[in-house]
């Protein structure tokens, strides 16, 4: 089980209807690739975030597959169009089965 995993997101609190807003997300995670060896020469098992999704009012905005070559603390920044007031839901899926999520409301105004 990866330790110290903590998701963070930055979403503007308000947007104009139909406006494309910039969303930034970061999750602190070791992203152990499975290629490295410890001091005794044993392989350190792979432990990464393997999928990241964002949804807006239940509709998929982005769905990403992450591979072992992605560095520590994966950071995603993307634009999303906000047609109406609602809630973004962000979900990260860990190799160990843990699921981390975070949601942010966006108002129109």
């Amino acid at each position: 089980m990866a330790s110290g995993v903590k998701p963070r997101v930055k979403v503007p609190k308000t947007a104009a209807a139909g406006e494309a807003i910039t969303i930034k997300t970061l999750i602190s995670h070791n992203m152990e690739s499975g290629q490295r060896k410890d001091k005794e020469g044993n392989k350190i098992p792979r432990s990464i975030i393997n999928r990241f999704t964002a949804e807006f009012n239940g509709e998929s905005v982005i769905d990403v597959t992450l591979e072992p070559a992605i560095s520590t603390n994966p950071y995603f920044q993307f634009d999303a169009t906000v047609p109406e007031a609602g809630e973004f839901k962000f979900t990260w899926y860990d190799d160990d089965g843990s699921v981390y999520d975070e949601s942010k409301k966006v108002a129109i105004g």
Binding site: G4, S28, N73
Partner: protein, 282 residues
């Protein structure tokens, strides 16, 4: 002939690239609110060597610079958060955490700006990490952290983060003076097979390229530094060690009295610059 003509063209084309290597004139505004001092008149004790002292931020690319302007984009802030958690963690035989005595981290604003600092009771100049370790061993009954180790650096970064925007202001007179003199001596002493001193690169040649890297003045106001090359926070002493190693010399160890003296001296060269730690560099 043809070859020579091409070299001449190449030389002409190279000229503007050298001009670009100068420190830029950008202004740093942190989180769209805190205006930072990244260039200022050199303090009196370095005025004969430099006209102006500049943060290493000016020597980095626009992309790297931008990462530091927003706390969400600054990867060093992840480590600051880890440091803040440790701040509230009870450890040791006395059943205390840092916050048991010091309250909020915000109450430590300004502390980072004055370190390394003379400690009267101990009769020595102490870096922030030494002071933290003294608290841990004598007040918390906890184990001292290894110098520049992950936890120690995270704590230093958390302490530094609340001082951002405040001017570096280390004292170099009074009881600290002899340590400062020792640091100055080290700064100007050439070491290693390459026979380089700190001053060779960071005083005589800042603004120039050393292979693909842009030489800064080697200021410490941004420490601890998040380096893109190793994706973690780096302490000033570890950086010193890397620099001395690059001159192909045997290095001093992080936490040694030589590096404490050097840290005081280098910090004093940046008196007046805003504390930036955790900053983002190459």
């Amino acid at each position: 002939m043809k070859f020579r003509a091409m070299t001449a063209i190449a030389a002409v084309m190279l000229a503007p690239t050298f001009a670009l290597a100068e420190a830029d004139d950008d202004t740093m505004v942190l989180n769209e609110e805190t205006e930072m001092v990244t260039k200022t008149a050199a303090p009196a004790h370095v005025a004969d060597a430099l006209d102006q002292v500049m943060s290493g931020w000016h020597f980095r690319s626009d992309e790297t610079q931008a990462m530091q302007l927003d706390d969400f984009d600054n990867p060093g802030m992840v480590f600051v958060e880890a440091g803040l958690e440790t701040w509230d963690t009870v450890e040791g035989s006395e059943d205390k955490s840092c916050s048991s005595c010091h309250n909020d981290m915000d109450s430590m604003a300004g502390v980072r700006a004055t370190y390394p600092k003379w400690n009267e009771a101990a009769g020595e100049v102490r870096t922030l990490q030494m002071q933290v370790n003294d608290c841990r061993t004598s007040r918390m009954g906890a184990e001292a952290w290894k110098y520049d180790s992950g936890t120690a650096i995270n704590m230093e970064a958390a302490l530094s983060s609340v001082s951002r925007g405040l001017p570096v202001n280390v004292a170099i007179d009074g009881p600290a003076q002899s340590t400062w003199e020792m640091g100055k001596e080290l700064y100007y002493t050439r070491t290693g097979q390459l026979d380089l001193s700190c001053a060779t690169c960071h005083e005589d040649s800042y603004g120039m390229m050393i292979r693909a890297d842009h030489l800064s003045q080697g200021q410490t106001n941004g420490f601890p530094v998040y380096r893109l090359k190793n994706a973690k926070l780096n302490g000033a002493h570890s950086r010193f060690k890397g620099c001395v190693r690059d001159t192909r010399a045997e290095t001093y160890n992080p936490g040694s009295k030589e590096f404490v003296a050097l840290e005081l001296y280098v910090a004093s060269r940046g008196n007046g610059l805003s504390v930036e730690g955790p900053s983002v560099r190459n």
